[in-house]
Symmetry: C2
Subunit: 161 residues, 2 copies
């Protein structure tokens, strides 16, 4: 059974921050500044409405935020970012978060979801997104410095709703 996803509260932050800190310092999946301070991370992640922030699990096993990818004449396409705690990977947490994001985008009236920067080496995420119908629009070549794999591509992925 997939973990439950619910909207994050301010008091979830102490459980969210270790997940983000671990993901950004490992630098393997998401192009965020690994030196980001906790206050900056909190401001960056806990976006105010109409953006939305969620957590998965009773104990927080993962988190996602979601928002319009662009403004004005581009605000009918959603985007978002999700992170799963290292110890909880492979258990459907990412799937629960992505499914929830798609449901939110659809009921909010978005026409599509665009992921702007999926590391080519993040095959678990790519397979998950493809299993939910996402396609790759293109790949920015060598746009991500993986600590082990070196320069790898960043995919732009897309789901029509």
């Amino acid at each position: 059974m997939l973990p439950t996803v619910r909207e994050a509260r301010q008091d979830d932050w102490p459980q969210i921050w270790p997940i983000i800190r671990n993901v950004i310092t490992q630098q393997e999946t998401i192009p965020y500044d690994p030196g980001m301070s906790e206050p900056d991370a909190r401001r960056t992640w806990l976006l105010p409405a109409p953006a939305r922030v969620v957590v998965a699990g009773d104990q927080v096993l993962g988190t996602a935020n979601m928002y319009a990818n662009r403004g004005g004449p581009g605000n009918h396409v959603a985007s978002g970012t999700l992170m799963v705690a290292e110890e909880a990977r492979g258990k459907g947490v990412g799937r629960a978060l992505t499914t929830d994001m798609i449901d939110w985008a659809r009921r909010s009236g978005f026409a599509a979801v665009q992921f702007n920067a999926v590391a080519d080496t993040n095959t678990a995420a790519i397979h998950l997104y493809e299993s939910l119908g996402f396609v790759t629009l293109g790949t920015a070549p060598r746009a991500f410095r993986h600590p082990v794999e070196g320069l790898v591509g960043l995919r732009i992925m897309w789901l029509d709703l």
Copy 2:
């Protein structure tokens, strides 16, 4: 002769703002919120270093800002946005701004420049970028609501440095 490009000063803002206001309210090229207030536009456009903001012309005919497209392991790719005053189009202002941006990205050590959202209908920009060596990595279909053309694609364009 192409107009001169120089770094913007705070006191250029009164000449920059009418260009931005016109571009975003026309909603034909750039997916920004057309209702953006002047203070929000100023904060959004006049980014602090290490980002850079420039103007073209003695009278300001155009403006650009430029920055790392992503953080951490993605911060070796630059991005930017440029806007040209309606009355100054077709006179090389966009070319001067783009050439300046490429020069800045190269001397700052970036490996590439990525434009994330070039409207498919903005053929002047696409031809300009292609003439400077940019290629289209992919197109987000129907991701831009053009006021006349309806739903059009947003190209992701790329230049290796």
